[in-house]
């Protein structure tokens, strides 16, 4: 499990990628990738092309990110989700909060 | 300074023992005399194992107080006892006795006075 992040040159778009299992062990690394950035990027993309698995603590982490990025005004996209991950997101109706 | 004792070792013992250096050497002398008696008995009995052990002990104490020659003599006897080589025992015993006398008088005159 590893977390990588890159910021666009103009500092407006943050891309965070998660490799492997997205679970509680990713907690610190995930937070570190966005917490200290000022100003907060206006758009955030979570790339899950290498993510194998998502559990409820991961959902919690996404909520924390959303809250940090402005809650209802946030603009977060979850992209390249595999079928299992999509399923989990569907059950929790997270498409109401994130772009998928 | 000494002929039959290692100067370095004696100096160190002075530092370690302080005023009790005399007590140490007195202990050495009485212990060694006992050991020599035991050794004589062992030789008479041709008890190789007892010879080995007694000589080994004498070797140890000798080394500790710096009587290098004495230690060497003891080592030979120790070896003979271990190997069961009883030919030279009497000769070796005499040698040890002589060396011991020399060491003893040096100790008595230079350290214990």
């Amino acid at each position: 499990m590893s977390v990588g992040s890159s910021l666009s040159p103009d500092g407006k778009v943050l891309t965070i990628s998660i490799n492997g299992r997205f679970d509680f062990s990713a907690h610190q690394a995930f937070r570190d990738s966005y917490e200290k950035l000022t100003p907060t990027p206006s758009e955030i993309i979570i790339d899950m092309v290498e993510t194998t698995y998502l559990d409820s603590s991961a959902l919690g982490m996404l909520l924390l990110l959303r809250d940090h990025a402005g809650g209802d005004t946030s603009n977060i996209t979850l992209k390249n989700c595999n079928d299992d991950i999509r399923k989990i997101l569907t059950i929790s109706n997270f498409e109401q909060l994130f772009k998928i | 300074m000494y002929q039959h004792l290692d100067n370095q070792i004696v100096r160190e013992l002075h530092e370690i023992m302080g005023d009790d250096i005399g007590m140490l050497y007195e202990t050495f002398l009485s212990d060694s005399e006992n050991k020599l008696v035991e050794l004589k008995d062992a030789i008479e009995l041709s008890d190789g194992d007892l010879i080995r052990r007694t000589a080994h002990s004498l070797k140890g104490s000798s080394r500790n107080i710096g009587a290098v020659d004495l230690a060497a003599n003891a080592e030979s006897l120790e070896k003979a006892g271990r190997e069961g080589n009883f030919d030279q025992l009497d000769a070796m015993f005499h040698a040890i006795g002589d060396t011991f006398s020399l060491v003893k008088s040096e100790i008595q005159s230079q350290i214990l006075s």
Binding site: L59, L63 | E12, S57, N64
Partner: protein
């Protein structure tokens, strides 16, 4: 440090003890092996110097005896040896020695080794004390958890989980898993059930469970419907739970009178409404974000309604079951679950059978403990029984002599459920507590009739088949949303009588009216689902006016009649 020296050579022993004493250590001297063993256990030194060759028993044996006797502390043993062969030196370590030093002793080397071992001893001591501390805290924590578990059980698990129609399996560690299972009888003689799964583990999850269960039990008792209860729960959890923590929930109301189940799934795995006769299985998917995520102003509940008769069953699970894995890291999964249900349709205890299957699948009995699931069959109706009140001792007549009227118009009809209000007001007269269920039923039926059949113009005949059922409730929602005009007018008049009281319920609606004579004469309680015959049974009189738009029902009660009459 206290150091034990075992050496039969007086000269050696003397020198070594002086060297150590010069370093500030306290020395205990032993001349033989046996003496060494005795002195060791008598003085408990922190370090031991052992001569290998001693007259009685050799150093190796002494070392063994010491190490064997050493249970709790680690005491380093340093051999004194004149041997130089590597094999012999290694043997020292083999026999329990921690180091060796060659003779004649060199005081610099002795000092260095003693210091090194002193350092290691200290480290060891630190670890031991930290270990004790950790153990202490751990025990403390376990005690606290036990206490929390008890509180949790008292608060969350009152209610009717023990009822005949319920089979359940709840992990004994549920408090720590965040699993919560609640069941309560509704005033209308039905049952409300909830299966919740809080994310996170341990106490934070359990703490979220407490306001949740309080809300569940108190609001259910007062007659609030699922949307109101869920709204309240979501608001509370939204404000109380930290941002990343939320609650996946399935909640269901079984209405024994109208034979229907209202069910809502927010974030939980699909639930199953099973028809044991036809084999039809309705899957109830999650249609909403879990509780605690959505802000109250954006929160909306869209419950689904299905037919639920005595040959139906509800099965709800938490993701523990779906996600159970076997030795090949395969998940049990929803497909297997569905197959299982279809195969075991008529099984009297699906719950136990399912747990057994999952345990068989994973091959891990301990995992079986961690599963939470709920199986509910048709509940008995409780209307016949006079429900005992909580404060029976208090004879407080409150609203015994009162008149309450409320008119709900247009959009308010869909946005406010007045039944809990009416019930609460009437029950301020606590002598009415024993009649709670019946009064609730009368209120509910009359109001729903006025609203659904009157104002919204829905035809109950639609409800006769299972598709129609769903369609009916769908229509209900749609029409309520579109409603611009219309009203329901309610007047509740309560008057005292010599031995009790009389409640007059009057409902007027703006609808088209209906053929009430036909409804009254039908006799079967399933006629168009109006439940009118039941109301007629419960009340002393029921009259219709204005072509059916106006109904007046009189309910007389008396304190002398505490036993239920057979109805």
């Amino acid at each position: 440090m206290k150091i034990l020296i075992a050496d039969d050579n007086n000269v050696e022993r003397l020198i070594l003890s002086r060297v150590l004493e010069a370093e500030g250590h306290q020395v205990v001297q032993a001349e033989t092996g046996n003496e060494a063993i005795d002195y060791y256990f008598e003085h408990s030194p922190a370090l031991v110097f052992l001569d290998v060759l001693m007259p009685d028993i050799d150093g190796y044996e002494v070392a063994s005896a010491i190490k064997k006797g050493q249970q709790t502390r680690w005491i380093p043993i340093i051999f004194l040896t004149s041997l130089t062969d590597a094999y012999d030196l290694a043997k020292c370590i083999e026999y329990g020695g921690d180091d060796f030093v060659s003779k004649p002793i060199n005081r610099i080397i002795i000092k260095a080794k003693v210091d090194a071992f002193a350092r290691i001893s200290k480290l060891y001591e630190t670890i031991e004390s930290q270990k004790s501390e950790i153990q202490f805290h751990n025990e403390h924590l376990i005690q606290e958890q036990e206490a929390a578990k008890k509180i949790f059980n008292n608060i969350a698990h009152r209610g009717c989980l023990a009822a005949d129609n319920i089979n359940y399996h709840l992990s004994p560690m549920s408090i720590f898993n965040g699993d919560l299972m609640l069941a309560a009888e509704t005033p209308m003689g039905g049952m409300r059930l909830m299966l919740a799964d809080f994310t996170g583990h341990g106490l934070p999850a359990a703490i979220g469970a407490m306001p949740t269960s309080e809300i569940f039990y108190s609001m259910t008792k007062k007659g609030f419907t699922i949307p109101d209860v869920m709204n309240e729960m979501n608001s509370r959890l939204y404000s109380v739970l930290p941002r990343g923590v939320f609650c996946c929930v399935i909640i269901a109301d079984i209405d024994a009178l109208d034979e229907r189940i209202t069910i809502w799934n927010a974030g939980a795995p699909q639930a199953y409404v099973i028809d044991q006769q036809t084999g039809e299985i309705e899957l109830v998917h999650s249609s909403h974000l879990p509780l605690g995520v959505q802000s109250p102003d954006r929160f909306k509940v869209d419950a689904k309604v299905f037919r639920f008769s005595p040959h139906h069953k509800l099965l709800a699970v938490t993701d523990g079951i779906i996600e159970s894995i076997n030795a090949d890291a395969e998940m049990y999964g929803e497909t297997r679950m569905l197959d299982f249900i279809q195969a075991q349709l008529k099984h009297p205890n699906l719950c136990d059978a399912l747990v057994e299957q999952v345990v068989g699948f994973t091959g891990d009995v301990a995992q079986g403990d961690d599963l939470s699931l709920l199986e509910v069959a048709f509940p008995h109706q409780h209307l016949e029984q006079v429900t005992p009140g909580d404060n029976d001792a208090k004879a407080h007549t409150g609203t015994l002599d009162s008149n309450l009227s409320l008119q709900l118009r247009g959009q308010s009809l869909g946005k406010f459920d007045p039944i809990p209000l009416f019930l609460a007001t009437l029950l301020e007269c606590s002598e009415l507590n024993a009649h709670r269920s019946r009064i609730f039923t009368v209120l509910s039926e009359l109001y729903n009739n006025s609203l659904e059949h009157g104002v919204l113009g829905l035809d109950s005949a639609i409800k006769n088949d299972s598709e129609g059922f769903t369609r009916y409730y769908q229509e209900r929602i749609e029409r309520l949303v579109k409603l611009k005009e219309g009203f329901v007018d309610v007047v509740i008049d309560h008057k005292p009588l010599p031995d009790g009281g009389e409640i007059v319920f009057e409902f007027k609606d703006s609808g088209q009216g209906f053929d009430f004579r036909k409804a009254l004469s039908a006799g079967s309680k399933h006629y168009s689902g109006r439940g009118l015959p039941l109301i007629v049974d419960l009340c002393d009189s029921v009259e219709f006016f204005d072509e059916g738009r106006h109904v007046k029902a009189i309910y007389r009660w008396s304190t002398s009649l505490q036993e239920s009459e057979d109805k």
